[in-house]
Amino acid sequence: MADIALAPRRAKTEIREATAWDQLRHNKNWLGFWFMVPAMAFLMFFLAYPLGLGIWLSFTDTRIGRVGHFIGTENYEWLWDDSIFWLSVFNTLLYTSVASAVKFAVGLYLALLLNERMPFKALLRAAVLIPFIVPTVLSALAFWWIFDSQFSIISWSLKHLGLITQNINFLGDTTWARICVIFANIWRGVPFVAITLLAGLQTVQPSLYEAATLDGASRWQMFRFITYPLLTPIIAVVMTFSVLFTFTDFQLIWAMTRGGPVNATHLMATLSYQRAIIAGQLGEGAAISSAMIPFLLAAIMVSWFGLQRRKWQQGESND
């Protein structure tokens, strides 16, 4: 190897200038660009473009099979005076707030329970997650059957316990229908909240609890001053997702009630489907779904601040 230095000779090929082709193949930025092409193409064509198109459609009078014309904010003005639209906004807010609050409470409680030492822990954890695995529509059908007006197993059980004398009209009565869909949503969402919070709980050092026990802390104090502060960042993220997906829920409602009875369970998403696809008023439906965007932005802001706080708490630099 050492004789190379003693007998210098010309390399067989001269070192050439990097051509544009080499740049395209080896430059870090260009290489990054090529790697990003497939993902970006999908997201541009089927996400960013439709998102913009949706906002544009909401300012037109497009119908199925007919090109629309720009009509300004007429769709929104029409919705402003539409009591069904406001009812759906109210339903969505009610559905989201109640379901998210209960999901959070029950999910956190379930996570704390699953974090204890006990036999068959792994099996229990696996079983808890099943409602999250099974397609929402299929479990919603099971709930539809459970909440049937005549053959409901709940009515039957309550009658045999002597608590009621007549069948409860679960999905036919406005109040009951709301309770039922909210319950089904909670049932479906609790496993997600519980399992992700459990993952957060498992990162809390046991020594902190030992120290707190030595200091004479009660169980509530341990939860309030150790568990809860350490979990806040992950709670922020999980709850953002939970709120976001509850707010834009469609399939559960569609499978159970289709918005009925008398629009009592219509959410903004189901109403926009009904107006846009079934009634054919694409412009109006797009206006309803565009009206969800401000709420989504609010949820995203909360998530962003939640993430910021997490990095600060763990003392990490923003990598």
Partner: protein, 307 residues
């Protein structure tokens, strides 16, 4: 030159060991048994029973004879002594159900494979190539994760129509990746970050191209992450409803969730048996997949949130 014995390091096992497993008992020995029963076992079993009851009911309804389904007083509704496979038979041999199952599987696998390929490339580029603006792109992809299908389906329906994809499985295979790519990119970014930089540097010095590094070093080490991303995406596809409801029209083309809701719901009061059988058969493939990959599943779910 003396040959140093190459240290045999099983990289895979090092990389896949959890950071720290704590098996200490903590403070739980301070609790008495009765107290544990009241504060732990009773609430836990109530919650688990509520979470699992709908599946029991679904399964039971699917195998009950019709007369027992509707007569709650003569028979105990919580059990049946003469199960029947009539509903399942009707489902599999007298309806389009096998078609629907096949469609769902086809769409789910197609969309998942496309998304995983796109996500692997994107995640690798964001984490390891670190081109100009990689962080911004990472943030944008996270934002894309937060855009729900319910605000996209109306404009997407017009787009799908323009491209001539209406009522074809391709419409779903091409639109589902918008849901899957953000999620799996984010998940894979987390996995790629855990792979030591030094390995790639060694390969670069040995003359490997970026493509070879990705295929021969990064991907084999990220297999757990790939499995997580794959099964999670598959489940999301199977679960997707609103796009399938909007973009598909003819009965044999539908996916299982849409078809069950639209085709099985008729005026027949005896529909419950076949409806529940359909729901059961539609859930079983996912539950079986889940049973084999519980850990991957959990890491997919928590990984995407933690990152």
């Amino acid at each position: 030159m003396t040959d140093l014995p190459a240290p045999k390091v099983d990289l895979k096992s090092i990389l896949s060991t959890p950071a720290r497993v704590d098996n200490s008992e903590g403070m739980s020995y301070l609790q008495s048994v009765p107290r544990r029963i009241v504060t732990l076992y009773i609430p836990l079993s109530i919650i688990v029973i509520i979470l699992l009851f709908p599946f029991y009911w679904m399964g039971l309804t699917a195998i009950k004879p019709d007369d027992q389904l509707l007569d709650l007083d003569k028979y105990n509704p919580f059990w049946t002594w003469n199960p029947t496979f009539k509903h399942i038979h009707k489902l599999l041999f007298e309806s389009y159900y096998p078609h629907w199952l096949w469609n769902t599987m086809y769409v789910a696998i197609g969309a998942t494979v496309l998304s995983i390929i796109a996500s692997v490339l994107a995640a690798y580029a964001i984490v390891r190539l670190r081109y100009k603006g990689a962080n911004v792109v990472g943030g944008l992809i996270f934002l894309a994760y937060l855009v729900p299908p319910s605000i996209l389906f109306i404009p997407l329906a017009t787009v799908v129509f323009q491209y001539g994809l209406f009522d074809s499985p391709m419409a779903l295979i091409l639109t589902y990746p918008t849901i899957l790519i953000p999620f799996s990119t984010w998940l894979l970014m987390g996995y790629f970050k855990t792979i030591p930089f030094e390995l790639e540097e060694c390969a670069l010095i040995d003359g490997a191209s970026r493509w070879q590094i990705l295929m021969k070093i990064v991907l084999p080490l990220a297999i757990p992450g790939l499995i997580s991303a794959f099964i999670f995406c598959f489940t999301l596809c199977w679960n997707e409803f609103i796009y399938a409801l909007t973009f598909l029209q003819s009965t044999p083309n539908k996916t299982v969730p849409v078809a069950i809701v639209n085709e099985f719901v008729d005026g027949d009061i005896y529909r419950w048996g076949s409806l529940m059988a359909g729901a059961l058969c539609g859930s079983l493939p996912l539950v079986i997949l889940y049973a084999f990959f519980v850990e991957h599943y959990v890491s997919a779910m928590t990984g995407a949130v933690k990152e």
